[in-house]
């Protein structure tokens, strides 16, 4: 059996140890700058091993799906070595069942920050922020349980009225008959208000949370982003501000917000500062980008699929099912990454101890061997809840019910107010293989 395994890696070209900063320039095909059709045509025919799908190019232009379709058919567990002097090389896992197998095998596939963590690019080794998404058992379980109550069950029901009144306020303030940016005025506005509530953070400074979220996921190489050191400084500033809140709340009666909960729970009250920061970043990013981009994506998809928009207007009862379909279709986090703790076989490929394994949720969500007609956006899709966007296994998204609730309320209130919202042009996308989202999307609500 073992002799039949084809090892697709070019082991000798892998650099030893970790990559060095600044990263060497990226190897790129000469199609950079070409239009979308040309890029897609390239991805459809290029040798598989020539493509580095982690390159922001394929995400900014929303062309990556062409490559993933080919991988699902031709090489479902495939090692990328091009540009390995930047990312050490990684395994692409692209089929539903294989992603499920990795996500549910936490004994073999580790999330540990010290091994690089949970994104394709390793966590900055000079600035490791431990957070429970990037921890293995048993510590992961203990910290997750400390956070869980705020986003589950009764507590969530308590938020419902508040979320609804905020949503109404934001929607009622929107201009009519003129173009505006939906991302800024609605998606960011709603998610930042929600985050401020979760943290017990002053509402008037809510955009600081958005800023820190953007900084923590920013790519230091991109023009306009803070560099590596500047980024560390900004995040340490965040830590300082939150430490002040912590100090106020640790000796006060519990106030039910996340900072108070972390400060009072024996499992988290003695966290070292970097770990406190890590968990802050986790909750800020977790609750921010993902929901924000689902809010934008949903409106975009309805505009692209007018027959679905018509279906929704005719039957407001479809909102809940549509929310799951939006989250599937958007897949706000394109991947999660693991590190193999031992040699193992996946999809006929031999994965070595220490290898990076990237679970492409965005591809699993389009696997037509498991889902019917997955490339279509269908708001009344049967069993729409069965999607990969929240991951599976012990790290499955802890905020999923909150995200669903926010989106459900938003669409209920939109339908009460506006007959239609028009997307005026193609949205500008985030150039990232991790956060799949939008920078801006111009829309108009008819007067």
């Amino acid at each position: 059996m073992a002799t039949q395994l084809k090892d697709t890696r070019q082991t000798q070209t892998l650099p030893q140890g970790s990559v060095t900063w600044p990263l060497p320039p990226r190897e790129r095909p000469d199609v950079v700058g070409a239009d979308k059709a040309t890029l897609e045509a390239y991805l459809a025919t290029a040798p598989l091993e020539e493509v580095d799908i982690a390159d922001p190019l394929w995400w900014e232009t929303d062309t990556n799906h062409v490559y993933f379709r080919r991988l699902r058919e031709e090489a479902p567990v495939f090692f990328t070595s091009v540009n390995s002097n930047r990312h050490r090389g990684f395994w692409n896992v692209v089929r539903w069942n294989d992603v499920m197998a990795v996500d549910t095998n936490h004994q073999v596939f580790s999330s540990e920050a010290m091994l690089g963590g949970i994104t394709l690019f390793d966590m900055d080794p000079d600035f490791i922020m431990p957070m429970f998404i990037a921890m293995d058992q048993p510590k992961h379980d203990v910290q997750r349980k400390a956070v869980n109550p705020i986003v589950s069950g009764q507590n969530l029901a308590n938020y419902e009225e508040l979320i609804r009144s905020r949503t109404c306020e934001v929607l009622d303030s929107l201009p009519r008959g003129e173009a505006f940016d939906w991302v800024d005025k609605v998606s960011i506005e709603l998610t930042s208000r929600m985050l401020a509530t979760l943290f017990g953070w002053p509402q008037e400074r809510r955009r600081m949370l958005t800023y820190w979220s953007d900084v923590s996921t920013s790519d230091p190489e991109l023009p306009g982003s803070p560099g590596k050191e500047e980024r560390q400084g900004i995040l340490l500033g965040m830590l300082q501000e939150f430490t002040m809140l912590w100090n106020e709340r640790v000796n006060a009666e519990p106030t039910g917000d996340l900072v108070s909960m972390l400060a009072h729970n024996p499992a988290t009250r003695n966290m070292p500062p970097m770990e406190f920061m890590g968990n802050l970043v986790l909750l800020i990013v977790g609750g921010n980008d993902t929901t924000r981009n689902s809010i934008t994506g949903g409106l975009y998809f309805l505009n692209k699929n007018p027959e679905e928009y018509a279906k929704l207007k005719a039957n407001h009862g479809l909102v809940e099912n549509m929310v799951s379909e939006i989250i599937r279709y958007q897949t706000p986090l394109a991947h999660m990454r693991r590190t193999a703790l031992q040699d193992t076989v996946l999809g006929g490929q031999l994965i070595h101890k220490g290898d990076k394994v990237v679970m492409w949720y965005t591809s699993a969500n389009r696997d037509d061997t498991v889902l019917d007609n997955p490339d279509a956006f269908i708001i009344d899709r049967p069993r729409a809840r069965q999607h990969m966007s929240f991951g599976f296994g012990i790290h499955r998204c802890v905020g999923n019910r909150l995200a669903e609730l926010q989106l459900k309320i938003l669409w209920e209130e939109i339908l009460k107010r506006f007959d239609t919202i028009e997307v005026l042009e193609e949205p500008e996308r985030v150039p990232s293989a991790f956060v799949r989202g939008y920078k801006s999307m111009m829309v108009r609500i008819p007067a």
Binding site: T104, D141, L156, Q386, H387
Partner: protein, 106 residues
């Protein structure tokens, strides 16, 4: 067919016939029993089919696997008799089983 009674947290009862060999999450979802979502399709990987099995049935419904155990342990509503419905298959021995549901699934 095996008779299974799903009991919501508020006491509402749903009596359903589940084909032998089918798991109890499918049994609920296919008969529109509210409160069991089954997001992962029966892989013990989402815990949205969390339920409680009355003590007298425990011996007949099997043991938790490692993954099932981990998923249940993370739920706020976990109890010693918690199970994931997708990990229990309907069989003649389970005819008349009451499956109790938590207030919310997470």
């Amino acid at each position: 067919m095996v008779k299974i009674i799903y009991v919501e947290h508020n006491g509402a009862r749903h009596e359903v016939n589940v084909p032998e060999g089918e798991n109890l999450m499918e049994g609920a979802v296919q008969n529109n029993v509210p409160g069991i979502d089954g997001d992962c399709g029966g892989n013990a990987a989402c815990a949205t089919c969390h339920c409680y099995i009355p003590e007298q049935w425990a011996g007949l419904t099997g043991e938790r696997s490692e993954l099932e155990d981990s998923m249940i342990e993370l739920a706020d509503t976990a109890k010693p008799n918690s199970r994931l419905a997708c990990q229990i298959k309907a069989s003649a021995a389970l005819d008349g089983l009451e499956v109790l549901m938590p207030a919310t699934q997470h």
